[in-house]
Structures are given as C-alpha cells and as structure tokens.
C-alpha cells in the first residue's frame, strides 16, 4: 500500500489508483501475446484454448521431424549471419567515418544510409525483386542476404554513432602520440571502447534479418524458405500448434537478445562513467 502525504485527498488517491491501473492494463496488453502463446505451445492437445488439459513437448518434437522447418531454420541462420556480417562491418566503418564533425555532405550521406529503415519494406522488396531478377539471381539466398544486409545497416550506423557520441578522441590521439600506427590504435583503443555499440548494432541487424518476411516472399523460392516465411504460409493456410512451438523458440531467442543488449548497455554506461 502506498503511503500518501496527508494533503492528498480522496480524489487524488482515486486518480493515483486509476492511473496506475490504466498503465497496468497497457503493460498487460503489451505482454499478453507472449504470455498467451507460450503455454499453448506446451499443450498436449492441438487446441488453442485454455484451460490446458496436459503439457507435452510434442509440438517441439514435430519441428525436429519436419524437414521443411529444419531447412527453414538453416536458411534463416545462414541469411541472418551472412547479412549481419556484411551490415556490421560496413556499418561500423561508415559510423567511424561519420564521426568527423566537419564532413561536407554528412547530412545527406546519413539520410541515405539510414533510409532503408524508413522506406516501407514493400517498396524495398519490389525494387529488389526487379533488380535481382534483372541480374538473374532472384530465388537465391544471395539476393536475400544482400537485401537483408541493406535493411540492417541503418541500425548498425545508428547504434555505433550513439556509442561514439561520448567517445573521447584524445585517447586515440594519445595512442598515436605514443607511437601506435593508426590501425593499431584503432584495434587496441577504439574497438574495445565501442564494441558494445557494434555488438548491439549487430544484434539489431540480426533480429531484422531473422524477422524479415516480405523480401523473402518476393526473392525466395521454395528452396529459400526462412522461418518467418514458413510461419507466414502456416498462419495463412492453417494455424497449427507447431507454429506456436516455433513462436516460443523465437520468443526465447528474443529474450536472449534483450538480455545481451541490456548487459551491453550497462557495460557501455559503466565504461563511460554514466552508471546509474
């Protein structure tokens, strides 16, 4: 029970509880889909209703016995890892270049680099479909990897730039002054300080690719189906409990990513002396 100061009247208390309840409902609304779907994935019966008659892991086993799902998982991992590597390396390098304050054309360059995040995904997908068809590599993992890499880079650029806002440039200069080559200074001074930003950017890029379905719909054939693509057709045709099991696995992955990100954020704040 909250202790109110004596001057808070009845209306003030009612307002307080009303406001807290409203916020509670919104937070419940936010969590509801996750809270609802996870227990249902362990349902021993193929129904989507509560109460659950018994628990079982049969739907998770069903994923492992289904070659289509296994191929989708493999494709998703290949695509996400490859596109993350491309977008993280290019994005980090670009963010370091954009650190310079007096760079002519910086605003325009940044706007172009960040635009894949803002342009509706359907437009990117349609354009990529035309582009990779012309190149003759539509219906290939390469096309999907390249378009996912483009979609992931803005996140890398943004997070690495944000980490570098508080970056003390005199540290690299000191290293250079002490005789370090530019590359050596970069490797031993800059990178250790900004790697939390790089890693969170990489996580964002990975999540973007791992979750992306529209470009896969356009650029992937039967052989290139990814997990979200497989979920898409599953939801459209017939919702099966296996999909809920896959969804649960994806939720576990997001929890892991969220925890990693939180860890990185704290580490970054600590290293820059901003600990709360």
């Amino acid at each position: 029970m909250t202790q109110f100061p004596p001057y808070v009247g009845l209306g003030g208390r009612a307002w307080f509880y009303g406001y807290r309840s409203f916020c509670g409902l919104v937070l419940l609304f936010l969590m509801a889909p996750i809270l609802v779907i996870v227990p249902l994935a362990f349902n021993s019966q193929p129904y989507f209703t509560y109460p659950i008659p018994g628990f079982s892991l049969r739907w998770f086993e069903a994923i492992w016995q289904d070659t289509i799902w296994l191929q989708a998982i493999r494709n998703s991992i290949v695509v996400a890892v490859a596109s993350t590597v491309i977008s993280t390396s290019l994005g980090t390098l670009a963010a370091i270049g954009l650190m310079r304050k007096d760079l002519p054309g910086k605003g325009l360059i940044t706007a172009v680099l960040v635009s894949p995040m803002i342009v509706p995904i359907i437009i990117t997908a349609v354009g990529s479909y035309f582009f990779y068809s012309n190149l003759g590599i539509a219906n290939s993992l390469t096309a999907i990897i390249l378009s996912h890499a483009a979609l992931g880079t803005p996140f890398v650029v943004i997070t690495v730039t944000a980490t570098m806002v508080g970056f003390d440039h005199s540290l690299t200069r000191a290293a250079r002054n002490l005789g370090a080559s530019p590359l050596y200074a970069f490797r031993t001074v800059t990178i250790p300080l900004v790697w939390p930003g790089i890693l969170s950017g990489a996580l964002f890029a990975f999540a973007t690719s791992f979750d992306e379905v529209v470009t896969v719909l356009f650029l992937g054939g039967v052989e290139q189906r990814t997990v979200p693509r497989q979920m898409w057709s599953g939801v459209r045709e017939q919702l099966s409990p296996t999909i809920l099991a896959v969804a649960t696995v994806l939720i576990v992955i997001s929890v892991a990513m969220l925890l990693t990100l939180e860890f990185l954020r704290r580490r970054n704040a600590r290293m820059r002396g901003l600990a709360d």
Partner: protein, 420 residues
C-alpha cells in the same frame, strides 16, 4: 603525426604560412580518410537499395510493350485526323494487321494483349480473337476485313486505348494509381465507379495509420510517464514489458493476436465469462483486429522516444509551478506536457510512417476491406503481374513516406532515433 617542439622565438611569416597549409593538409587527409571509411557502405546502399528503388520508379513510367510491337500502327494512328474522320484510315488497319502477324509469330502478342487489358478490360480477348481469325497469307484491304471480324475495331475508344498504351513512357500507371484514366479525347477523367480502388486504399491506409498513431499515443504517453517517474529499479523492470514485445518477431505477435482474438479465442472467453457479451463476437479479420495488432506492434516505437525525452525533464519545474499556485492539472498540461512534445512528435511521426507501410499484419489479421496500399502493390506484383501499376502505387507510397521522413529529419534528426 610527428611532434614538433617549438622554440620560444616567434614564427616568421613563412613558417606561419607553412604551418597553416600543413594544418589544412592534415584536415584534408582526415576528411579523405573519413570519406574512404563511409564509401564502402555508401556504395553498397546505392547498389543494393537505391538502384532497386530507382528501377521500380523507372518501371512505373516505362511502357515498352506495345510501342516495340506496333511501331508502324502507332505512327499511322498519330497521323490520323481524329476530329475529321470518325474511323482511322486504311493505313492504320494495314499496318496493324501486318504487325499483328509478325508479333504473333514472335510470340509477343500475348504480352501486348495483357498490357492492353490493364487499361481496358476486354482488349485481351479482342486482340487474341482477332489474331485467331487472321491467317498469315491474308491480304487487304484490311479495314473492312477487321471491322467484319469485330466491330470494336471501328470504335474511337478502342484505338484510343491502343494509342495511349503505345507511349514508350507513360503517366498512365500513376493516373491508374489515382483512379484516373484518359478518355478517347485524351482528357483525364475519373475511372468508372466500380473500378475505383486505390484512392480508397490510400485514404484507408492514412486512416488506419492515424488511428494507430492515436491509440499508441493514448496508451503510450501515460506508460512512458510512469516508467520515467518510477524509481529506476522498478522502472527498468517494467521497461522489460515494453522491450520484450519490441524484440519479439512480428509474425509471432501477429500469430498470437489471431489466437487471442479469434472466435473461440481467449478474449471472447473472457468477455463471455464476465457476462459482457451473450454470443461470441468477430474480433479478427476485420478493422478491430488490424488496429489492435498494429497498435500493439507499434506501441514501443511511441513509448521509447517519449520516455527518453521525459527522462530529461527536470521534475523541479512542475514543483515550481505547483508552488506558484498552479493546480496539479494546470501544472501538468502547461509545464510538463510542452516539454515532452519533442518526444511526442518523434514517436507519433515514427509510428505513422511505419504504419503506412504495413503489409504483413493487415494481410494476416485483416479482412478484404482492411487491406492497405502495400497489399495492392504485392498483389499486382504476384498475381495480376501489372508491374507498372504496382510500381506507380509504390511511387506514391514512397513520395508520401519521404515527405514525412523529411519532416521527421527536420524535427528530430534521423540518427537520434532511440532504439531501446
């Protein structure tokens, strides 16, 4: 860089100049290095993102099919004095018949027929039907012959469609995207009532975007305030409720809303148990489902920017207002809310921009009357194969989003997006 130990003696003019020029050179080198670092990504984005979108924009105006197959017919049509003669002269029919034979032989006629059919239903069967009745060895005079095959070949409307589809570059797809077309006299008129689709779809897209923005703001602002004012320990814990859905796959969340909202789903169970409804209601595959799911998915994009602005607002200001005699409501709306407006405008613009491009969620939880502009683009690419129209619809959507993006950049700055 080599360190130079300067003597106490003042620098001569020449030395100063050389120092200046060396500084300039060092600056220039720094800039070149910075550009070199940015260049690979810029090149990649231009190639893998800007070029594809440019291709889409080219496809929205390019129109080579008819022009490449019927060049002589189109030249003859251009020479036809349309006001003086009710039907085209024999030259048009002669060119048309000969090019029809050539095109049929080359296997291109079906493409032409499909292209013409986009502009006017019935053109496909007219063209293919005519082609079937004409043999390779047939000769003229063609006008009577073709009119006997199908009287439509004597109509100005038929030839207007043919002529307009013959422009190698056309605004026709954009006209179609705005439910307009050109009539037989090349005047721009509205499509017949039963063929108007896209203006409705666009206004629906804007409307759903506005609704979702409104609801995310309504639900997000109080929650952001709570999270920003709670002690950090509790606040961070509750923040998980915002960040976990944010990190959860879009498809997972959409699937989950189907499970919750379907007729036999949890929400209906709950309403029944509470006695609020007597029979199960349809909550999914309609507008309610779309707005609910999209509000859920975009809510973190509203809460996070508002939260980060609220964190910066000093609480002493509201206290000062209160001590100066303002009531709690006045102090909140006159002192606190104005200071959070940067966060509100950032969140609202972001949510609105993202909502306009939504495809997956409306396609999975919406009914036929809830589909947004993205759905029609995907449909024309995948099913009707009218790539020109799909590209033009994409062009309209892109223009809208880029305009909002420019506003966003002006107000917030594109790299100031807070991501968790």
């Amino acid at each position: 860089m080599t360190a130079t130990i300067l003597d106490a003696e003042p620098l001569s003019a020449a030395e100063r100049r050389s120092l200046k020029s060396r500084l300039r050179r060092a600056e220039r080198m720094g800039r070149v290095r910075a550009y070199a670092a940015v260049a690979p990504l810029l090149a990649f984005i231009l190639l893998a993102f800007v070029v594809p979108i440019t291709l889409m924009l080219i496809n929205s105006v390019q129109n080579p099919v008819v022009a490449s197959q019927f060049p002589r017919t189109l030249t003859a049509l251009a020479a036809w004095g349309r006001t003086a003669e009710p039907t085209p002269p024999e030259g048009v029919y002669e060119a048309f018949a000969e090019e029809l034979k050539v095109s049929r032989k080359a296997g291109e006629l079906s493409k032409v027929a499909t292209r013409l059919n986009y502009d006017s239903g019935g053109m496909r069967s007219l063209l293919m039907g005519t082609a079937r009745r004409i043999k390779d060895g047939d000769t003229g005079p063609w006008k009577e012959r073709l009119l006997a095959v199908d009287a439509a070949w004597g109509k100005r409307e038929t030839w207007a469609v043919f002529r307009q589809a013959g422009d190698p570059f056309t605004a026709g797809y954009y006209l179609a995207a705005l439910d307009l077309r050109r009539d037989a006299d090349d005047q721009i008129v509205r499509q017949p009532e039963d063929q108007r689709l896209y203006v409705d779809a666009m206004s629906r897209t804007l409307w759903v975007g506005a609704l979702v923005t409104f609801f995310t703001l309504l639900a997000g602002y109080p929650v952001a305030y709570l999270l920003a004012t709670l002690p950090p320990k509790t606040g961070n814990l509750l923040m998980i409720c915002v960040l976990l859905p944010f990190w959860t796959s879009l498809l997972v969340r959409t699937t989950s809303w189907i499970v919750i909202l379907q007729r036999e789903g949890l929400f209906n169970d709950l309403l029944m148990a509470l006695g609020l409804i007597d029979e199960r209601v349809q909550l999914i595959f309609n507008r309610f489902g779309v707005v609910t799911a999209m509000t859920h998915i975009l809510l973190p994009f509203m809460i996070l920017p508002i939260y980060s602005v609220m964190k910066q607002v000093p609480p002493s200001l509201v206290r000062a207002a209160r001590s100066l005699g303002a009531g709690p409501v006045t102090a909140f709306f006159k002192v606190y809310v104005p200071q959070t407006m940067p966060g509100v405008s950032a969140g609202a613009l972001l949510v609105f921009i993202l909502a306009l491009g939504y495809y997956i969620t409306p396609a999975l939880v919406g009914g036929p009357a809830d589909q947004m502009i993205s759905y029609f683009i995907a449909d024309h690419i995948g099913r009707s194969l009218n790539w020109g129209l799909a590209s033009a619809l994409g062009g309209v959507l892109l223009a809208g989003v880029l305009a909002l993006y420019a506003v966003y950049d002006r107000l917030v700055g594109v790299t100031n997006v807070k991501l968790g």
